[in-house]
Symmetry: D3
Subunit: 128 residues, 6 copies
């Protein structure tokens, strides 16, 4: 069996602060561009020879990111009470993406990666 | 046990059309540069401390891609009757690569990734 | 005086053939993804502290590229009678971009770059 | 005469808001990772065969960026009363870099580029 | 369960020779810049919402690479008697990283990737 | 007049040492992968709609780099008596490239860039 992955890119630009001494200077209100890569996994392909419609994948990712664009994450309800680390943000994105998939998606897993600066990135893999 | 991956790069420039309304404007005869990354997986290393000879890996990939270079995929027999999506192309490449491996390759899997434009890519993983 | 450049990215996926023995295997009908970078030059900034509105720059580039997306350049009237090399395509894009600028643009030059594959790219610089 | 450029990289992660309807959703308090490339130009090389000591170049850039790291630019005095666009930020960085050069630098110009997200960047070139 | 990966980057610049005819021209004393990516895997996140402290991850990687920086690997005791291929170097780095983790790390695996030139890279994955 | 640039890529892997206290740890015998970008400038295009034949450009660059591949630059005669900094190496490459151009090249300038590691690069521009 061939295992496929389709990946589409987007990005968000957000402000936030990480309110614990653990985070050092990142306790300040600052911000980040998060370059996002969302991957969709499937065993074999659908009748059109794709993992899923790439336009649908891009639109689903864009819709998922929309509530986060140009926001101060310290004031976003969906993330209230959490440290909005890159890891927490991508888990939130992955869970929202998963919830938005059509019922007959045929996928086995999702992965969301965020590069927060040129020298560090994080990803999360979620089985469906 | 350490699990190793060796990846080599190449690319092809092809024309094609995707003849179904599902594909929207990609029904037109158009084209793509597919940046290809072929990965070879091995548990542990051979007696030279490598996954496989990197020169042999590059030559095998180049030989695999040769019949596709500067082609209109709508007229390539090996892909006749299929939608030549990125996913279908990389599965074809992965299968051809696998068939061309020497008998004693010692590898466990292959992965072929193609980036078709700066914001989307697909990969396929095949167990050997 | 500070000289500024603002660059926005887009891409097109086209088919074409280069009909002269000079072009070797590229005489075949094949294709390419052209990753486009359009740069706008200005001496100093406007009253909003920018070279030009980045949204307007992206939309102007997108509108310029629209007639080329998913096309076979062998059949595009605007390029008839020319070898549609990367250089010729980017000159066409730069001239169309220049013609579409608002009257009071305040810019000094444009540059259009296209990367046709991971190991080669071309650019053209046009004074306004 | 050979004209040389030496470029070193760094980055900052900042919050800001752009308070004019011109900026659309960027009027919100949000943030960005700015990947910075600072280039130093020189005609010919010094007695060590370099444009300048690369360690000194990196330290000068880091010292220049230090007051901006993890800051909300809406509250940074050096940028008060300005729209803190990417262009304005890089001009500020370039001027600070220029002021920090040793007296006998032998350079002809500086360039500072910032990539604010994967699809847009700006640069400024300043003659010394 | 969400599976997370945190990746940090660094690089080393080393000389070496690969003393066997198998390696062709790489038998000469030559060198390489190895761009290193170290990934840390964890199921779920710690109490701060991260895989591990990113500063600690970067420092651990830097400390691991320190004995290799600006070295001729033909004279490094830790690699004596081995072909210092990219694969062997990254296995050495991965093992040293693993040995340097704090006792309560909570991680499941490490991966170390090295890009030795723009067209080839290798990685090793080690279960903890 | 439109000013064009064509850029082709290659790389070399070399050893060297920089024998002066100015260079700190780089006094050790170490090495580097130099990712090379050679650019060719032309005002307008030739009769084939290109700056120059891209195959010829790549071959000229490859031939220029051949004597440096897998070498210890401390022992390369052409660089004897010089600090083999990135800047010195690229000037040598640019001069060799210029000397190898055909008599009727029609070019106005060359630029050679080398990225020695992911966070630093240098370039040289030479008028023809």
């Amino acid at each position: 069996m061939s295992r496929f992955r389709l990946t589409v890119d987007d990005h968000i630009m957000i402000a936030h602060s990480l309110q614990d001494p653990f985070f050092g200077p990142a306790q300040n209100l600052h911000g980040a561009t998060l370059s996002i890569q969302a991957s969709f996994f499937r065993d074999g392909l659908n009748e059109y020879g794709v993992v899923l419609d790439i336009g649908a994948a891009s639109e689903l990712l864009a819709a998922t990111l929309e509530p986060l664009r140009y926001q101060n994450l310290d004031e976003v309800d969906a993330l209230a009470g959490k440290f909005t680390t890159t890891e927490v943000i991508i888990e939130h994105i992955a869970e929202t993406l998963a919830a938005g998939l059509p019922a007959d998606h045929g996928l086995t897993a999702l992965e969301v990666q965020a590069e927060e600066h040129p020298r560090a990135r994080a990803s999360v893999w979620v089985q469906l």
